[in-house]
């Protein structure tokens, strides 16, 4: 059994001083006169946030905000690797038969993305809605979890780590919610551990068009496609997905092939890291009004992560290799799916394609929101989970909770 200990985060005064020193010595590039966000993060925005980060960011508030959450650490050993210390938030419902929900973040997110969901999900007064025990870890190489030191720690290993964590907390059956890597890890976990992981909720839906091998879905798809019979939302989503492929894949191509080289940029230049992440916060969201404080909070999670910012991009490299590379899976049986479609996601594909992933028991097309749905529209995500798992919902009773 993994030894579980409470965890209290503390700022490193030396680290903060060094960050401020580096920020003071920043050499900024120039910028083309008529450049906009289409060239990357504008100079005035980076300068503004860098100055805020150096002079105005409230480090005590940052520390307190993290420590308001119930934080723990547990030792988890994945086959073939040294033991890892996994940090996680663990918030239990007062109801014993609440559903254990593993909330997985992605890149450049963190466990903190659960912050806004917690009060919405642990709302005991709501009748008919589901109750949850929530586990929100820092993924290995991210946040306050250990860094991995050897190669080959791919999606299979991430899923094994998360599965072992849940088991160590006494949750033999559980559900999973996530987007970005959270979704990918959920997909692999549901292939590897179908007796444990019974339901997945994805806010990023990696569906593929139906294949000719299943004519009952393929023919309608073909007709719809040729006659362009997609809804306005779906057409826009397809266009946005294509645009993302054209203009948004630079970071992906780099991180999947040369993560170490990128690591030097992210480790030595705080504005380098800031720009790298800030670009995604803006490009991947639905005009979310990021405050400078929020941006610095997210970037600080990487600058001050236990493993360092360079470690976080290694998953991209590993995800293309190993037993369960990103593109694998297709239809995954035995696990019920809830799919949420957000209009400003990086790819947003037609609803009918969702059946390529598994048994879809819940679907919701949202009017607002993008890649960081739990942060942008937490009430939307919480609402989905409560409906999906509540009485009459498609995943009601899917997770056996008698033992809890």
């Amino acid at each position: 059994m993994a030894a579980i200990q409470k965890f209290q985060f503390q700022n490193s005064p030396g680290g903060v001083a060094k960050l401020r020193e580096k920020l003071s010595q920043t050499l900024f590039p120039d910028e083309l006169e008529d450049a906009t966000w289409d060239y990357g993060v504008p100079l005035q925005d980076v300068k503004r946030v860098a100055a805020y980060w150096r002079d105005d960011f409230d480090w005590k508030k940052f520390e307190d905000r993290i420590n308001k959450l119930p934080n723990y650490k547990a030792s988890v050993t994945v086959d073939g690797f040294d033991p890892l210390e996994i940090h996680f938030v663990h918030k239990r419902s007062s109801k014993n038969n609440a559903i254990p929900l593993l909330f997985l973040h992605g890149w450049p997110g963190s466990f903190l993305e659960v912050e806004k969901l917690l009060p919405l999900l642990i709302n005991e007064k709501q009748s008919g809605g589901a109750s949850f025990h929530i586990v929100a870890p820092s993924l290995p190489n991210h946040g306050f979890s250990s860094g991995v030191k050897s190669r080959g720690f791919g999606l299979s290993q991430y899923s094994e780590a998360m599965h072992k964590l849940m088991l160590s907390l006494g949750y033999d059956q559980f559900a999973c919610a996530g987007g970005d890597w959270g979704m990918c890890i959920g997909r692999v976990m549901s292939q590897r551990f179908p007796t444990s992981l019974k339901v997945c909720y994805y806010s990023l839906v990696p569906s593929t068009p139906p294949s000719p091998a299943t004519p009952w879905t393929f023919v309608p798809f073909l007709i719809k496609h040729l006659l362009k019979m997609y809804t306005a939302a779906e057409s826009e989503g397809l266009a946005r997905s294509q645009e993302f492929q054209k203009t948004g894949m630079g970071y992906y191509q780099l991180q999947t092939t040369r993560p170490q080289t990128i690591g030097y940029l992210l480790a030595d230049s705080p504005v380098g890291l800031l720009a790298w992440i800030y670009e995604k916060l803006r490009d991947w969201t639905d005009n979310y009004p990021w405050t400078d404080e929020e941006i610095c909070t997210w970037v600080s999670m990487y600058w001050f992560s236990t493993a360092g910012p360079a470690a976080s991009v290694r998953l991209y490299y590993e995800s293309l290799r190993g037993e369960f590379p990103t593109k694998s899976g297709g239809y995954v049986p035995h696990v019920k799916l809830g799919l949420a479609y957000f209009p400003k996601e990086i790819f947003r594909l037609p609803k009918a394609w969702g059946s390529s992933l598994g048994e879809v028991v819940f679907e919701h097309e949202h009017e607002r929101g993008g890649h960081f749905a739990s942060w942008e529209v937490p009430e939307g995500v919480a609402g989905d989970l409560q409906v999906m798992f509540g009485k009459g919902g498609g995943a009601y009773g899917a997770v056996k909770v008698d033992k809890n």
Partner: protein
């Protein structure tokens, strides 16, 4: 011509001090065990180089470089502000020397011409007047302040530079962006750019419609082992090696912050290419630091150079796309150098669709930085192509490369 001024590199001491200070405070990531070069530049290399660069003497490199004749001249490209263009200019004693424009790429610079200067000046071959500029945004040329400075503008800059030096007709050499820019020069200025030698060959397979003979050859003859190896290398680069390209072509500003702020970032970014793109070239520390310092101390700053990727990939309507530059361009005689460790290694039948080919060299070794890795091969190529009996001999009117006519006529009595 009067606007052309001699130039000596003189980096302000403040910049050198800042570089050393930043290097001394550099923070390094960790590294996964047994990574080698697979995930990028190895940590041990980057750490060692960062420490050595901090202790390296730029001034001795500067002094060495200033022995090479350098100049600047103002050039105005249509629709843009005036740019100060820095260039190396080695004039030959031979009156009829051939004007040769040498165009670098990324992460190269005017430095790449240096190894061939003495080789081309040696007796026994045609003489050249050699012009090797720093492209706008690179080296000691101005930075461009507005968007849209792409293929057409780079071509115009180089062409106007040659005209300003009195070279109405000239020939070119280039690889990397030098390939694209010299091709664009040939496209836009065919009555001026008479021949081009290129060492990075991007081309499409021949189609029966456009290149029936080549297409037939292509269909009938199986690919040689070398050509198959070439495909493998090209595919490797396409799958594993293009991350930098896509980032630079889509989000150049985002990348600029790290490259401008952290010399270690710049070092790793460029050093990775010096390793991956060459045929095991034994880079000395001195070479590495000189190359990277040209970026660090550049007039436009290290965050500016890679904007060329964005601009070429977003061509304006009056410009030309990269794909167009992979296709037949008439009138400009071509010399092709095939190097096994180039990033795009394509069969002859494909490369011959680029234009009227009058010279080819097939090298057993060498990669992307041809002039640096194999200066003797490149010099041989140019002297053969442009020399007596070469496919581009006398391609420039009145500039044969020799002061006496090739055939010994009896003197008039």
């Amino acid at each position: 011509m009067s606007a052309t001024q001699p130039f000596q590199i003189s980096v302000p001491q403040e910049k050198i001090d800042t570089l050393k200070s930043k290097l001394s405070q550099a923070e390094f990531p960790d590294e996964l065990a047994a990574s080698g070069w697979d995930l990028g530049a190895p940590l041990a290399d980057v750490k060692r180089l960062a420490r050595a660069w901090e202790n390296w003497d730029w001034r001795q490199a500067e002094e060495r470089l200033n022995k090479v004749p350098q100049y600047t001249t103002p050039i105005t490209v249509d629709g843009f502000h005036e740019l100060n263009i820095h260039f190396v200019w080695q004039k030959s004693e031979v009156k009829n020397a051939i004007p040769l424009l040498f165009v670098h790429g990324w992460p190269g610079s005017f430095l790449e011409v240096l190894p061939i200067l003495p080789l081309l000046a040696a007796p026994g071959g045609p003489a050249f007047h050699i012009v090797a500029p720093s492209l706008p945004n690179f080296g000691f040329s101005s930075g461009v302040k507005t968007r849209g400075f792409g293929a057409k503008q780079y071509a115009e800059t180089c062409h106007k530079l040659m005209l300003s030096l009195g070279y109405n007709e000239y020939v070119t050499q280039g690889g990397d962006w030098g390939f694209y820019i010299t091709r664009a020069i040939g496209y836009f200025y065919p009555s001026h750019c008479r021949a081009s030698h290129i060492n990075m060959l991007r081309a499409d397979p021949p189609t029966f419609l456009k290149h029936p003979t080549l297409a037939l050859q292509h269909k009938l003859a199986p690919y040689s082992q070398k050509e198959k190896d070439g495909f493998a290398r090209t595919e490797w680069f396409g799958k594993e090696g293009r991350g930098y390209f896509i980032e630079q072509a889509t989000k150049p500003q985002t990348l600029a912050y790290a490259l401008n702020d952290s010399p270690v970032a710049l070092l790793a970014w460029i050093y990775e290419k010096l390793h991956d793109w060459t045929d095991s070239h034994p880079w000395t520390d001195d070479e590495i630091f000189t190359w990277i310092s040209i970026y660090y101390f550049s007039t436009a700053g290290p965050g500016a150079a890679h904007r060329i990727y964005y601009e070429f990939m977003h061509p304006r309507p009056d410009s030309i796309s990269r794909e167009d530059l992979h296709r037949w361009i008439p009138n400009v005689k071509l010399g092709l150098a095939y190097n096994p460790k180039e990033l795009s290694v394509l069969p002859k039948s494909w490369c011959r669709t680029l234009g009227p080919v009058v010279f080819e060299s097939f090298n057993e070794s060498g990669g992307h930085f041809y002039a640096t890795e194999k200066p003797a091969f490149l010099a041989r190529d140019l002297r053969t192509m442009f020399g007596k009996g070469g496919g581009a001999f006398k391609v420039v009117k009145g500039k044969s490369g020799y002061d006496r006519t090739p055939r010994a006529y009896p003197a008039k009595l």
